[in-house]
């Protein structure tokens, strides 16, 4: 008895349970993103000084909910879908323990709803970080705990599926690179969720009065094991998706399996040390601890990202050159499928993640430079480059790919879809660059009023800081509308898109499986990739990408030392 459906366009096999779970997780992710985007508009229009839309209490409430819905719920729902795709679909294996997977999904939904309710009741505007001793309502923490338990179940279903695939020999050789990256993400996720449990369970007990005191320094160190590591799940996940998109769209093969997998291994070993990035200007933490942890033990995770930065676009370049775009350094780049939203979203994401997200992250994570950046609006600039463009835009691009394949609907509004990644990436880039500028001028993050209305004393930021916050607001509005366009296209396609499979009705768009007869296929064992004859090792396979990588390096070096220079100009401290 078989439970698989063959996608006629891509040759992918979908397990019936895995398919439904991917759909419901993707839909829950989209709902979270919708909420996050609406909240983002409120936040952005309040921080735009000339508009200053919301009153203070609503602003902080919106900001808390925006952080949680965008950074946690949208991304993790989507990542669970990716884990099921990378295990069940890519390995042609039935999903392990589908009932557990469904209960995990149910817990995640209950948790997400509970935490949102707590925030919108108004007594839990504690920001995503919920630093003690500021207290939220008990169900704020409880919702996060339930969500985390659900996500943990999802991770173990993923691991279980890998075990079954190995046992039942559904594939030859080693697991594919994309699955290897997903394993990396899932291992980091387990670490992350463990940190979350260690700190949020006691904090929940404290909120209902069973524990008297939570030490704020301890809270920060462990909470950031959750807060920062969860962003490392995203890095591993979206880098895997970059490889997947390169393979599916362009037929790209990894330049070297060993190098790409080695880079993922470095992520597993070193990425989680980054909790320290948030503790660099805290009282009483030793210098040695800070330097070792903030640098991921000598920047070995940065090394890994720099490797992916070469090998992902490099593998695309090799594939495009083989298609004949071989003239000069950059013909392959000019002739790349820029009109395909999956490709453009991926490539924009690679560029912004590397050039802005990566460089700013290293700069602000440098022990001493953090003094001139900590808690300024430079910080959200950094993580919008990594998460909103790096992860979110990548996932948007992947969705465009999955609508016909997974949901069996033709995408509506193709012209809008073609422009959407540019609008979102462009708006976000404006937001990011001008928040970086304003942060360098000292503007605070998580702050309702840069005029300090009602304060006993006064302080005035420079006129330039105001201008930059205004322009950042314009960028944010563009990005929110592009996010709306994404949801319009995707949800619209699920409802109104032309059915590519007769029985793919409205309910099927939201997780109900197709009729049983659609799943009558028994997949063959997943074969190893065909051997491609190696080029002579004398020349560079991807010279254009190498040039781009050198441009990245030069930007990195210049910007890094500019910040040391800036640090050297502030009051001496010791």
């Amino acid at each position: 008895m078989s439970n698989f459906r063959l996608c006629p366009d891509t040759g992918l096999y979908f397990d019936r349970n895995a398919e439904s779970l991917m759909k419901v997780n993707a839909v829950a992710a989209a709902v979270s993103l919708l909420l996050a985007g609406l909240l983002a508009l409120g936040v952005a229009l309040t921080r735009w000084p000339a508009v200053h839309l919301l009153p203070a209490d609503q602003f902080y409430m919106f900001l808390t909910a925006h952080g949680i819905d965008a950074l946690i719920f949208w991304i993790i729902f989507f990542e669970i879908a990716i884990l099921y795709f990378a295990s069940s679909t890519l390995l042609r294996c039935r999903l392990a323990a589908p009932r557990w997977a469904w209960s995990g999904f149910a817990l995640m939904v209950i948790g997400a709803v509970l935490t949102n309710i707590a925030v919108f009741q108004g007594n839990s505007s504690v920001m995503m970080t919920s630093y003690v001793p500021m207290q939220a309502a008990p169900h704020f923490y409880l919702g996060l705990i339930l969500f985390a338990v659900g996500a943990l179940i999802g991770c173990f279903v993923f691991f279980g599926t890998l075990v079954i695939a190995k046992q039942e020999q559904t594939y030859e050789g080693s697991i594919p690179l994309v699955t290897f990256g997903a394993v990396t993400a899932a291992i980091i996720a387990v670490f992350t969720i463990a940190c979350g449990a260690i700190i949020l369970v006691p904090t929940f007990l404290w909120s209902i009065g069973y524990i008297a005191h939570i030490d704020p320094a301890m809270y920060r160190v462990i909470w950031w094991g959750l807060g920062h590591s969860s962003q490392q799940i995203n890095v591993a996940a979206h880098v895997s998706v970059w490889y997947l998109v390169g393979g599916l769209l362009l037929g790209a093969r990894p330049m070297s399996e060993k190098v790409s997998r080695g880079a993922f291994l470095l992520y597993i070993l070193f990425l989680q040390l980054a909790s320290a990035h948030h503790i660099l200007v805290d009282p009483g933490i030793s210098t040695e601890w800070k330097i070792f942890n903030t640098s991921y033990a000598m920047y070995l995770a940065v090394l890994a990202s720099m490797i992916h930065g070469l090998t992902v676009p490099g593998s695309m370049e090799v594939a495009l050159r083989q298609k004949g775009y071989n003239r000069g350094m950059f013909e392959w780049l000019r002739k790349a499928p820029w009109g395909n939203p999956t490709f453009s979203a991926t490539f924009i994401s690679i560029i912004i993640f590397g050039f802005i997200g990566g460089i700013t992250g290293v700069v602000m994570g440098t022990e001493q430079i953090n003094l001139i950046i900590h808690n300024t609006i430079y910080v959200p600039a950094h993580f919008h480059a990594t998460v909103a463009v790096g992860t979110t835009l990548t996932f948007m691009g992947l969705t465009y790919l999955l609508i016909p394949v997974l949901f069996r609907r033709r995408m509506i509004l193709p012209t809008l879809a073609k422009w959407q990644p540019y609008l979102f990436g462009g708006g976000m880039t404006i937001l990011i660059l001008f928040m970086m500028g304003a942060g360098t001028l000292g503007v605070s993050r998580r702050h309702w009023d840069m005029d300090f209305a009602g304060a006993a004393l006064s302080f005035e930021y420079s006129g330039m800081a105001y201008t930059m916050m205004g322009i950042a607001g314009i960028g944010a509005v563009i990005a929110v509308f592009a996010g709306g366009a994404y949801l319009l296209i995707t949800v619209g396609s699920l409802v109104f898109g032309k059915k590519l499979e007769e029985s793919a009705g409205l309910l099927q768009s939201f997780g109900v499986p197709l009729p049983s007869r659609a799943y009558g296929v028994q997949p063959e064992v997943l074969p190893m990739a065909k051997v491609v004859e190696e080029h002579g090792s004398a020349g560079f396979e991807a010279p254009g990408t190498f040039v781009l990588a050198m441009v990245l390096l030069v930007s990195f070096v210049v910007y890094y030392f500019i910040n040391w220079k800036y640090l050297a100009s502030v009051w001496p401290l010791s």
């Binding site: 594919p176 704020p216 037929g251 399996e257 660099l280 190893m528 051997v531 070096v557 502030v570 401290l573």
Partner: protein, 180 residues
């Protein structure tokens, strides 16, 4: 094609690596080491390093120390709230506390002198953000952070709170004067 298929060779980890990858990894590794060693280098040769001196304290204990300094060295009061302006002698221990929603008191320092600045919070977490110099630190209740500061430009400086601390967060401003 092969990113989502098993590698073409069973023993993929013995396949040769392309030249640009090797060159790039070498360059990147050197850069990573430079990034790493810049931090200890700055501890030796740079002038902006955060002290690791800190003590456990309580709001009551810390409040007493702040009050003792205010009683001894207040030179005038400012604003309707009569915020004391304190001018402690050069080189001494100086105190500033964060609470909902003030930095207290106002300090008046001399340019080019070094002071031992003690910071703590009386309630929630706060962010000490000295503007427009742009020096930022996290202030926790129960911890007294001590750092040596040497204001090197005269002027009037704002202390913004840049860790969210509730509905009045945006009104939490302090001040430091630096005299010639």
């Amino acid at each position: 094609m092969t990113s989502y298929l098993p590698p073409a060779q069973r023993i993929w980890w013995k396949m040769p690596v392309g030249r640009e990858e090797i060159v790039w990894i070498a360059i990147a590794l050197v850069w990573c080491l430079i990034l790493f060693f810049m931090m200890p280098f700055w501890h030796v040769y740079g002038k902006q390093n955060l002290s690791t001196e800190a003590y456990q304290t309580t709001p009551a204990q810390f409040g007493l120390k702040v009050q003792a300094m205010i009683d001894q060295y207040t030179v005038r009061h400012e604003t309707e709230q009569q915020i004391p302006v304190v001018a402690p002698p050069a080189g001494s221990d100086i105190y500033m506390l964060g609470r909902l929603w003030q930095w207290w008191p106002i300090l008046e320092l001399e340019k080019g002198q070094t002071y031992r600045l003690h910071l703590s919070s009386m309630d929630w977490q706060h962010g000490f953000s000295l503007q427009p110099v742009n020096i930022n630190m996290q202030i926790l209740p129960g911890y007294e952070m001590v750092l040596n500061i040497t204001p090197d430009v005269a002027g009037e400086y704002g202390v913004v709170c840049n860790e969210y601390c509730g509905i009045g967060h945006h009104t939490m401003l302090g001040r430091i004067y630096v005299k010639e």
